[in-house]
């Protein structure tokens, strides 16, 4: 489903060369895959390349067999909107919108009819356990609840692939574990594909497939 082929993206960080170098991996449909490794290992860079947020210096990103990394920006935007979902470490909800409006955002940007969009957003929020918090703004929700809204926002358009960057890093253990349980359930239940960048053992423990990175290179691949 997602194939990264010999991906390279280099940049200077504090006077040193950083990034990812010649990474190839495959994430099949319905898999909860984790990019693991210490800080600076290239997890986030690889996730951004896979999510078409950045362009590789070399190599290809293929989605359902189609090379998408070389598409023009407009087409990449459209792909992100219709086929990809994102969950960020710092939640990154739009602070002036309610939980429901945040979940509605990608659906409205897709141009879905109002009733259908609302129904899907409400269902996504209900699925992550926030049926009674739909009209709260992010500032009125806990960190765990905000991250659940972010997951609902990512899942509401029913994407092919959800990319999550350190989704539990801003949460304590009491919230991080249940969140990962939720991701695992959603993967099984909806056949959704998740690619998660994390160094949290609780996240890694729930993964179907683990790709370990170090210094921008893939050093180990574990299938469970």
């Amino acid at each position: 489903m997602l194939e990264l082929h010999q991906l390279t993206r280099a940049y200077e960080l504090g006077g040193e060369r950083a990034g990812v170098f010649g990474v190839s991996l495959t994430v099949p449909k319905g898999c909860l895959a984790v990019l693991a490794g210490p800080s600076g290992s290239g997890k986030t860079t690889l996730l951004q390349l896979a999510g078409l947020l950045d362009t590789p210096d070399a190599g290809e990103v293929r989605l359902d067999g189609q090379v998408v990394s070389s598409l023009p920006e407009r087409a990449r935007c459209d792909l992100r909107l219709r086929r990809l979902g994102f969950v960020f470490q710092a939640f990154n909800l739009v602070p002036v919108l309610s939980a429901l409006e945040n979940a509605l955002l990608p659906l409205q940007l897709q141009g879905l009819p109002g009733d259908e969009a609302r129904h899907r957003a409400e269902a996504a929020l209900a699925r992550v356990g926030l049926a009674d918090r739909m009209h709260h703004r992010p500032g009125q929700l806990s960190g765990g609840q905000q991250q659940r809204v972010a997951i609902a926002r990512a899942l509401a358009p029913d994407p092919l692939l959800v990319l999550a960057d350190e989704p539990t890093a801003s949460l304590d253990h009491a919230h991080g574990g249940p969140l990962m349980d939720l991701l695992a359930e959603l993967t099984a239940e909806r056949g959704a594909t998740f690619l998660v960048a994390s160094h949290d053992p609780a996240v890694i423990a729930r993964a179907d497939r683990v790709f370990r990175l170090a210094d921008g290179k893939l050093i180990e691949e574990e299938h469970r």
């Binding site: 951004q48 947020l53 960020f88 990154n92 002036v96 955002l105």
Partner: protein, 414 residues
């Protein structure tokens, strides 16, 4: 409709800053619309003064009257002005025709003589259509003006109404006897004894020092004018049709020149140009202030939302949609600012007009006037559209900045 909603919420997020920006827009609207209302009052006053000061809506002149030296004599005249006046009175668009004779000469009290510019008018028709009564009322308050009245309708009466400056120069007052001297149509010197019926204050010092008014019968005798008239002032039934009627009546009178009042009122034209220059410059400065203030606000708001824009772009928002978002924010600032500006303008206008403020006499005029800022919807519309356009322009640079953000850098932004 997600973008307008997001834009509105973003403006409400920083209420104090949005309120300050709105105040700039409101102040711009207020200043420009009040200036527009004041200009409208001035133009209306000047056009009324020109039309009711004797020009009428249209003037019928001899064809060469405005070429070369505009002689104040009957050398250039409509030879049978009275017959032409009678013909024009039958025209369905014409309310009245006021024949006039322009002449000049010397006015003497015996020991002293002063040059004058004279206008002869119909003593019955003139007060019905022109501002003679107002000028007399003001003149009656001047020294020697007590008891001022309009010219007698009796063709045998030999009376004159003097500008207050002319009366002062000769030490004349109502009831004084003076001698008018001028040249007849044939160039011979002639004189007529007249009694001062009243003094008039025409509002302009230069006119008050030189102008006098007599009846057509008095001028006819002094100048041996016969049926000749210098010009005919036409009062139209529908003043709004002046331009169209001018063309039509000109076509009917190929031997004469028909001019609308605004072509002849040079003072009106000059003041209008001056005001457009002054207020145009002021408007430009105000639009610039609004442009800079709102661009600054929107730019600050973009800088504060870099990460948010990164998320929106990551979710698939196109760069053009981010620009549109900023355009919506500019649009709301403009709409809200203009609505509040309109309300403030109407309130302040009502307040200022209720104070009956007396404005100082404009340069060259002898008395002030009451401030009465006009209600001019077209001005409000033009100001609102101008401000809206300014705000849309001011949102361009912040919009471009937002659209050009690199997603990965925006997501890292703290």
């Amino acid at each position: 409709m997600i973008l307008p909603r997001l834009a509105l919420r973003n403006l409400l997020r920083q209420r104090r800053r949005t309120a300050l920006t709105l105040m700039v827009v409101v102040a711009g609207f207020l200043a420009l619309s009040l200036a527009g209302g004041f200009m409208a009052q001035t133009f209306q006053g000047l056009s009324d003064a020109a039309i009711r000061g004797g020009l009428g809506h249209l003037q019928v002149l001899p064809p060469d009257a405005l070429e070369g030296d505009e002689a104040q004599s009957l050398e250039k005249a409509l030879p049978d002005g009275e017959a032409l006046a009678a013909q024009l009175r039958r025209d369905p668009a014409v309310a009245e025709v006021l024949p006039r004779i322009q002449f000049m000469g010397l006015l003497s009290n015996g020991p002293k003589s002063v040059a004058f510019l004279g206008t002869a008018v119909d003593p019955v028709l003139e007060p019905r259509h022109m501002a003679s009564a107002e000028a007399l009322k003001d003149g009656a308050r001047a020294p020697g003006g007590a008891g001022s009245r309009w010219l007698s309708a009796d063709p045998a009466a030999r009376e004159v109404i003097l500008g207050v400056g002319l009366a002062r120069a000769l030490g004349a007052s109502v009831g004084s006897s003076l001698t008018l001297m001028s040249t007849t149509r044939d160039g011979a010197l002639n004189a007529a004894d007249v009694e001062v019926a009243g003094l008039q204050d025409l509002g302009l010092r230069e006119l008050n020092d030189r102008l006098l008014t007599v009846s057509l019968a008095t001028a006819g005798q002094l100048l041996e004018a016969g049926p000749a008239r210098s010009r005919l002032s036409l009062v139209l039934k529908r003043p709004g049709d002046t331009a169209r009627e001018q063309a039509r009546i000109q076509a009917l009178l190929p031997g004469a020149s028909v001019k609308p009042w605004f072509e002849l009122a040079s003072f009106y034209r000059q003041v209008k140009l001056l005001y457009f220059a002054i207020f145009g410059f002021m408007g430009l400065v105000l639009f610039l202030v609004v442009l800079l203030a709102t661009a600054n606000t929107l730019l600050m708001s973009v800088m504060e939302r870099v990460r948010e824009f990164g998320v929106l772009r990551a979710m698939g928002l196109q760069p053009g949609q981010l620009m549109a978002l900023l355009q919506w924010e500019g649009a709301f600032l403009g709409l809200l600012g203009s609505a509040l500006g309109l309300a403030a303008t109407l309130l302040l206008r009502a307040g200022l007009n209720a104070l009956h403020l007396q404005m100082p006499a404009p340069p060259g005029t002898s008395h002030g006037y009451e401030l009465n800022i006009h209600f001019v919807p077209l001005v409000y519309l033009v100001v609102a559209v101008g401000l809206q356009a300014t705000l849309q322009v001011s949102a361009l640079v912040p919009g471009l900045k937002a659209a050009r953000l690199r997603i990965v850098e925006a997501l890292r932004h703290v």
